[in-house]
Symmetry: C2
């Protein structure tokens, strides 16, 4: 169930290579990687889970309301993360030239389905 959504997101966003559903504690619910992606999405997720937890706190502290989405563009990879609730987030790793707009759209529209099955 989770896997099929994670797979759908990767397959429908140009340049996406892997995705993961994870807790802010760094524990994976499920993940998907396209063949030969060469991305260890569990390690990526677990590194960024700490960053996201910090951003979540900072946004609250700064009166910005709930943090919804974080995008990190690095030389060789773009990571797009959507915070689902207090406990979980979903992340997608993409090639730098990938279609980030499409990935954002897919994460946003699939988020309610993921949430529904998480709670």
């Amino acid at each position: 169930m989770f896997k099929s959504i994670l797979r759908e997101v990767v397959e429908n966003a140009d340049g996406a290579v892997a995705s993961i559903l994870m807790g802010f504690d760094g524990i994976t619910v499920d993940s998907y990687a396209s063949e030969g992606s060469g991305v260890d999405m569990e390690t990526v997720g677990s590194e960024y889970s700490q960053v996201l937890a910090q951003i979540k706190q900072a946004a609250q502290m700064l009166d910005m309301g709930t943090a919804r989405e974080v995008a990190v563009q690095a030389e060789n990879m773009t990571t797009l993360m959507r915070l689902l609730n207090e406990e979980y987030f979903v992340a997608i790793a993409m090639k730098p030239q990938g279609n980030i707009g499409k990935a954002r759209y897919l994460l946003r529209t699939q988020a309610p389905k993921l949430l529904e099955n998480l709670t």
Copy 2:
């Protein structure tokens, strides 16, 4: 000099309210806020400076290369940050419905000018 670039970025991106040039140590070089923005950009920058420092390390550790840009979308504010070099970043705060694409473009094109004057 810095101020005029920071001001230009805010004035030319729809929905942008404030900008800052800061070190990863949380020390401000210069900042600009539009009238009545109500945003304490020094506090925003200093909160996010720690997050950015962590992302910089994570990206290197994960073999993603140098982190270039980070965007955080929260309910009431979007913060777009561009890492300039090992020491400095520039950030812009925007209303959620602001033109993020334009802000990204402006930060990217103004980055070399900021860098030139930082080094």
